[in-house]
């Protein structure tokens, strides 16, 4: 059973992705901010994490840093969600170990699910395309 953790502060977006992944039969867990997200990663042990960059309490990059610093969690693939195309944060996230970043306004939910599917199908950190 594949479990996706969506860490996203905007409830509309949260629900949208939850629905999209739900359609395809994924188990979806959500968290509304970075702190809660970190807790859920530990408690739920998801297969993959969708992580928003701009969030209250703890932003996505900090959450990513914590994940990658934890030997038990660092193997979990993380996809960054961002509002804006071409932002510096997204690139930084890739350098820090995220497998991909997705500009929310540019990809329809269905496309996002498709990407996740592809990543999980052939996942190894090294041969995942960055864009």
């Amino acid at each position: 059973m594949v479990k996706i953790l969506i860490i996203e502060d905007d409830p509309l977006m949260q629900r949208m992705y939850q629905k999209a992944f739900g359609f395809d039969g994924y188990t979806v867990v959500v968290a509304g901010d970075g702190v809660e997200g970190l807790e859920k990663i530990r408690s739920e042990q998801p297969t993959l994490v969708l992580l928003d960059v701009m969030m209250p309490k703890m932003n996505g990059l900090d959450v990513l840093t914590k994940i990658k610093a934890d030997p038990e969690l660092k193997k979990i693939p993380v996809i960054m969600l961002t509002n804006l195309a071409g932002s510096a944060d997204a690139e930084k996230a890739l350098l820090m170990g995220a497998v991909k970043y997705i500009v929310k306004s540019e990809q329809e939910p269905k496309a996002v699910v498709q990407m996740v599917k592809e990543i999980l199908a052939g996942y190894t950190r090294d041969n995942v395309p960055t864009q």
Partner: protein, 716 residues
């Protein structure tokens, strides 16, 4: 043949040869004084009286000698004695007047008093030839005689000793009242006068008249030499009569003459003693004269050296020093260096402790406009000031009636006072130095002025720069604030827009069947959302571009693939508008280019959207996109047959928020940001967009950008 005559006297009266030599010496010495005194200042009473005194002394010496010649008949002797009395009658008066005038140019006595005194002398002189002064002269031996004085001798004594006594008293009084150089001069003069005249009065008057002895009268002339020596000393060392330089030559020649006479006389005298009889003394004298003529040059140089060593120790060559000074003044323009060098030369040559120049405005007027010499000043405030400042000479430098500086000199190293030569040198130097210093000052002022000007300019530019910086900072702050605002707005807008389009896609993909009308409405929403998205994206790009945060991500791009992607993005729109779209970006020999695919997409999407939208409604619309290689650039051309851009509006096409005034354009949705953002992105890629357009016919837009380029970031 005067020498020969003298020598006959020598031979005949070898006993009184010394007396004769002294007579000659005395006469010469007095002639020297007369010449110097009259040459220097014939109008001054002191000079004239001193000359008169010397004339009388010389005459007296000669007559006295004649009276003493051995084996002279009593009548002749009496005549000469009377002549002596006659000639010396004005002695007292001269000394009295001299004492009164010394060292000034006139006496305090009125004309009547002076004539009265000389009248008295005249009476005495007349009486001298009467039997009432000396009644009789009796020769007691070949060289001695006695005189019988009469009552008139008292008249003479009053005129001589009385007047002289008053003169002495006057001088003593004057001496006590005087100061400085004058005091020294008076002292020397007084001592010379008192010593010599007291002595000669004793030997030549008291002894003769009171004791009836003429044995001592031959000492008279040497006593006047005492006076001569003192006066000379005062002249040379203390500037008496101001005759300095003249003295050098006079003394040299006097001594030379004496030396010649002495040597010749000694030679002739000794030779006639040694040589065998038969050789005429005249021949000997001539021989001696020849020998002296031969040795004249040697003698002269010996005497010159001798006199210079005695009188002019530490002398320098005025002309040479002036030449050095003039050269320095011609060479230097920097005031400090100029003065430094002048000072060195003056100190070395004049041997002075401290020579200073005051050329600044505050100090240079301090001593006034007159040359001051400490030793010449009478006691007073000015002299006290000089003493306190340890200044001995003040030399104002005046040019064109302006005091440009003042040179002050301290003590001479020798401790002596300043010589006439020193003062002459300074006098000549002053006007030249004034001009040189004035020039140097002008130069200095120009330099100072330049410096001040430079400082002022610097100060001003500094202020200006600071103001500019403040202004710039202000502007930058505003710009930053604006960009931050745009950035934040874009970000906050992006989320809801993403949510709308996301949910719309969910609806589209849902299995629920939608009515046709609902589908149309949904499509309308979709189009609006797309526009909103691109508006948000444009704003974001502008904010980034203007704040220098536009990021370029270079990668390998295949033009053909780019064409496909563009077609995918605008295909729907073209179809909807009924525009025939032809995209072919294949270029022979160009497989890939290095650029930012995302940005190229955005530019082309903008260009194509415009081309598709703004078409003429009554014609069949088409848009052609092609590419070609131009040297190291790729040029993508977007050509349409739309309504084009009017010439009037062509210049504004790339401005922010520019939209055409055409009705057709106004009817279309749009923000006026598309071409502005496209041009910005193109320049971020190192390229540019150009166009040509004809109203009613269509437009051609060319995007050119480098085929290869190094990745770069942060292009503004």
């Amino acid at each position: 043949m005067s020498l020969s005559i003298v020598c006959h006297w020598c031979l005949a009266y070898s006993g009184i040869m010394l007396t004769l030599a002294i007579v000659i010496l005395t006469v010469l010495a007095n002639v020297v004084i007369v010449v110097m005194a009259l040459q220097r200042n014939p109008a001054s009473a002191t000079h004239r009286l001193l000359a008169a005194l010397s004339v009388v002394t010389a005459l007296w010496t000669v007559f006295n000698y004649l009276a003493l010649i051995p084996n002279t008949a009593p009548e002749t002797r009496l005549f000469w004695v009377r002549t002596v009395m006659f000639a010396t009658a004005p002695y007292g008066t001269i000394i009295l007047l001299l004492a009164d005038a010394f060292p000034g140019p006139s006496t305090n006595y009125g004309r009547r008093v002076v004539w009265g005194l000389f009248g008295y002398n005249l009476i005495t002189a007349v009486l001298a030839f009467s039997p009432w002064m000396f009644a009789q002269l009796i020769n007691t031996s070949a060289t001695n005689f006695t005189l019988r004085p009469g009552w008139a001798i008292v008249v003479y004594a009053i005129g001589f000793m009385g007047f002289m006594g008053v003169g002495f008293a006057k001088l003593i009084k004057k001496y006590r009242a005087s100061m400085g150089l004058l005091k020294t001069q008076i002292w020397l003069f007084l001592i010379g006068l008192i010593v010599s005249f007291t002595l000669l009065t004793l030997t030549n008057f008291i002894a003769v008249v009171v004791f009836g002895s003429i044995q001592l009268t031959s000492l008279g002339p040497p006593f006047t030499l005492v006076f001569f020596v003192f006066v000379m000393y005062a002249i040379i060392k203390h500037k008496l009569l101001d005759v300095g330089a003249l003295v050098v030559r006079a003394v040299t020649f006097t001594m030379l003459l004496l030396g010649v006479v002495g040597v010749e006389a000694g030679l002739v005298w000794s030779l006639t003693k040694i040589l065998p009889e038969g050789i005429d003394s005249v021949q000997v004298a001539i021989g001696g004269a020849v020998a002296i003529v031969m040795g004249y040059d040697t003698l002269r140089s010996i005497f010159t050296k001798l006199t210079e060593r005695v009188f002019f120790r530490g002398r320098y060559n005025t002309e040479g020093v002036l030449k050095q000074l003039t050269r320095v003044m011609a060479e230097e323009i920097e005031i400090e260096t100029l003065w430094g060098r002048l000072q060195k030369i003056l100190e070395r040559e004049m041997k002075v402790t401290e020579i200073k120049l005051e050329w600044k405005v505050e100090g240079r007027e301090r001593w006034g406009r007159e040359r001051l010499v400490f030793d010449e000043l009478g006691e007073g405030e000015q002299k006290e000031q000089l003493r306190q400042a340890e200044v001995r000479v003040v030399l104002p430098l005046i040019t064109k009636d302006e005091v440009v500086g003042v040179i002050t000199l301290g003590d001479k190293l020798s401790g002596e006072i300043y010589s006439v030569q020193d003062l002459e040198l300074l006098e000549i130097l002053a006007p030249q130095a004034a001009v040189a210093i004035k020039n140097a000052q002008s130069y200095h002022q120009i330099q100072e002025f330049n410096k001040t000007l430079e400082e002022r300019v610097k100060e001003r530019s500094h202020e200006l720069m600071a103001a500019q910086e403040r202004e710039l900072q202000h502007t930058t702050d505003l710009l930053e604030l604006k960009n931050e605002f745009v950035f934040m707005s874009s970000h906050d807008l992006a989320t809801p827009v993403a949510a709308i389009s996301g949910y719309m896609s969910l609806i589209r993909d849902s299995k629920d069947k939608l009515s046709k009308e609902m589908q149309n409405n949904l499509a309308a929403i979709g189009e609006s959302v797309e526009r909103l998205k691109s508006l948000v994206n444009d704003l974001l790009q502008i904010a980034r571009g203007e704040s220098g945060q536009l990021r370029v991500e270079m990668g390998a791009i295949e033009p053909a693939v780019l064409g496909d992607n563009v077609l995918r993005r605008v295909g729907v729109l073209a179809k909807a508008r009924g525009v025939k779209l032809d995209i072919d970006l294949n270029v022979a020999g160009v497989k890939t280019v290095t650029s930012d695919g995302q940005k190229l997409m955005e530019i082309l999407e903008n260009l194509l959207t415009n081309a598709i939208r703004y078409r003429l409604s009554d014609a069949e619309g088409w848009v052609r996109v092609s590419a070609k290689k131009e040297s190291d650039k790729l040029v993508i051309t977007v050509e349409d047959n739309g309504f084009g851009i009017s010439i009037k509006e062509q210049a504004k096409v790339f401005s922010k928020f520019f939209r055409s005034e055409r009705r057709e354009v106004r009817e279309q949705p749009g923000t006026g940001l598309g071409l502005y953002v496209s041009q910005m992105l193109a320049s971020a890629l190192g390229g540019e967009i150009s166009f040509r357009s004809e109203e009613g016919k269509g437009s051609v837009f060319n995007l050119s950008f480098p085929l290869e380029q190094k990745p770069r970031k942060g292009v503004k």
